[in-house]
């Protein structure tokens, strides 16, 4: 298995260690806002273990994915709220 892989976060390529989660890839890409709350507040991961849903992003077109529980795959396209 290769040591690293490349995916895109908000259209920019980012290379991450193999086994990293999408949450980590987003942080590595320098993005601190993962989603906007129902009243528009910026949010980012809280629990890190799939409980809180604060890290929800769109992965390969699939909305509301918990980025902390999904492993990065080569070529994956990740979008956060802006």
């Amino acid at each position: 298995m290769p040591d690293s892989l490349t995916l895109s976060v908000n259209g920019s390529p980012i290379t991450v260690p193999a086994g990293a989660t999408v949450s980590a890839a987003i942080a590595l890409a320098g993005v601190t806002l993962y989603r906007r709350s129902v009243t528009g507040e910026p949010r980012a991961p809280l629990c890190g273990m799939g409980i809180c849903f604060e890290c929800s992003v769109t992965i390969d077109g699939r909305a509301h994915c918990r980025s902390c529980q999904v492993l990065c795959q080569p070529g994956m396209e990740v979008r956060t709220d802006a």
Binding site: A20, T32, P45, C52, F53, V70
Partner: protein
């Protein structure tokens, strides 16, 4: 993924679940081991490289040897009928049948609301550790660790060894309680060493965060200790106020719960026939008791009561430790006054403390404010209001996790049946 049937299905692949699955499979049972996380190991054995710690490696090897079917990235969102669970994966769903079910659903952190706690980079203590283990870079980051419990020390040690600049650890408990707990620690050398390894990091007792500040993300945290209040600039605030067991599935199944966990008998069986529970979901105790409980549940679910009995003695000493933990790290009253007007309690639906306080019960708050009705279904705010307002927050309905329509649709019954159903919850 096709529907399948097993003798034993274990939910949760942390230490308790792994041990349970191995012991049941070693008795010749066909066993499935499910976990919501992408890798087995639970939170304590979670790591980036996929190369587990020694103790975990032994259990993983045993699971492979005994042909345990590991199904990671799988969340159980319903029990559509007795003996059958509904499971959703990233891009699939299925129903799995079981003769015996073992719940090893572990625990989550208790979060308490204070002004600024919803800012990006305010994370759980275990949360930041989990994220770091999943590849989040912490080297060179200024981290303040706050809240309560021995987990804070473990997190501090982990983050320090991974290059984080841990500015201080703020423990809300008073030193007198910790001293008493320390005497108990002396009986457990491994944990004592872990505490000592922290030497060099500021560890402040009777100290807690009162607010977090930042524009779009965390920039500093304000801490209080006695009459002294000051502000620490930081990149992360890792903050958790102890652990609470994950009881949603047990309650959905109608298992009796209370006093901090699922009620079980000597064989780890719950009040529901053929449903067992092991590990943190039966009460917070840590790694060793989780493994022993898992082994007992696994043997018992496989029908080998004699081998289960042989493990009883190993379970006893750990229970004292769990009791000592509760006393030492009891949350202080001042923490109930942390939320200010406008502070959000429910982060999914952005419900403020004053709107929740205007209600008399959890049920009323859910109906009138949508508190606890968002995607996390009260897993975060429930633990907070339990402490802040003394409410009982159980009100479990399927699906216990948000699920895709396509996953729910195959469930038997007329349209709307799944969401309208209310399960018995006994306490």
């Amino acid at each position: 993924m096709p529907d399948r049937d097993y003798d034993v299905v274990v939910i949760g692949a942390g230490p308790a679940g792994l041990a349970a699955a191995c012991r049941a499979a070693e008795c010749g049972r066909r066993v499935a081991l499910l976990d919501d996380n992408p890798h087995p190991g639970g939170q304590i054995w979670r790591n980036l490289s996929g190369k587990p710690p020694k103790q975990a490696a032994r259990w993983l090897a045993a699971a492979e040897r005994h042909a345990v079917e590991l199904i990671p990235g799988a969340r159980v969102f319903d029990v559509p009928e007795p003996g059958r669970i509904a499971v959703e994966m990233f891009d699939a769903e299925c129903r799995l049948g079981y003769r015996c079910l073992i719940l090893a659903t572990g625990a989550r952190e208790r979060f308490l609301p204070f002004p600024g706690w919803t800012l990006p980079n305010v994370v759980g203590a275990g949360g930041l550790q989990a994220l770091a283990k999943s590849g989040l870079p912490v080297a060179g980051k200024r981290v303040v660790i706050a809240g309560s419990g021995p987990l804070l020390l473990a997190v501090a040690r982990y983050l320090r060894t991974h290059g984080a600049d841990v500015r201080l650890v703020a423990e809300q408990a008073p030193p007198s309680a910790l001293l008493r707990f320390g005497l108990q620690l002396a009986l457990r050398p491994a944990k004592l060493l872990q505490a000592l390894a922290l030497f060099g990091t500021r560890y402040l007792t009777s100290c807690w965060p009162v607010s977090a500040q930042g524009n779009e993300r965390l920039e500093s945290v304000t801490l209080r200790r006695a009459a002294h209040t000051w502000t620490e600039p930081c990149d992360y605030l890792a903050c958790g106020f102890g652990l609470i067991p994950n009881l949603e599935l047990a309650e959905l199944l109608g298992c009796r719960t209370g006093e901090g966990g699922v009620h079980v008998d000597d064989y780890q069986m719950t009040s529901v026939e053929s449903v067992y529970c092991a590990g943190e979901a039966t009460g917070i105790g840590g790694l060793e008791p989780s493994i022993v409980e898992g082994e007992i549940a696994g043997y018992a679910a496989a029908g080998n009561l004699r081998r289960a009995q042989l493990r009883f003695p190993a379970r006893q000493p750990h229970r004292r430790f769990a009791a000592a933990l509760d006393t030492a790290f009891a949350l202080r009253d001042e923490l109930r006054r942390l939320p200010r007007p406008g502070t959000l309690v429910c982060r999914c639906e952005d419900v403020t403390i004053e709107r929740v306080r205007a209600c008399a019960t959890w049920r009323e708050a859910r109906l009138h404010t949508r508190c606890g009705m968002g995607p996390c279904q009260g897993r975060v705010c429930g633990g907070a209001v339990e402490f802040l307002l003394g409410w009982q927050t159980e009100s479990v309905r399927p699906p216990v996790f948000p699920a895709r329509i396509g996953s729910i649709a195959p469930a038997p019954g007329p349209a709307g049946h799944v969401s309208d159903r209310k399960r018995p919850v006994s306490r």
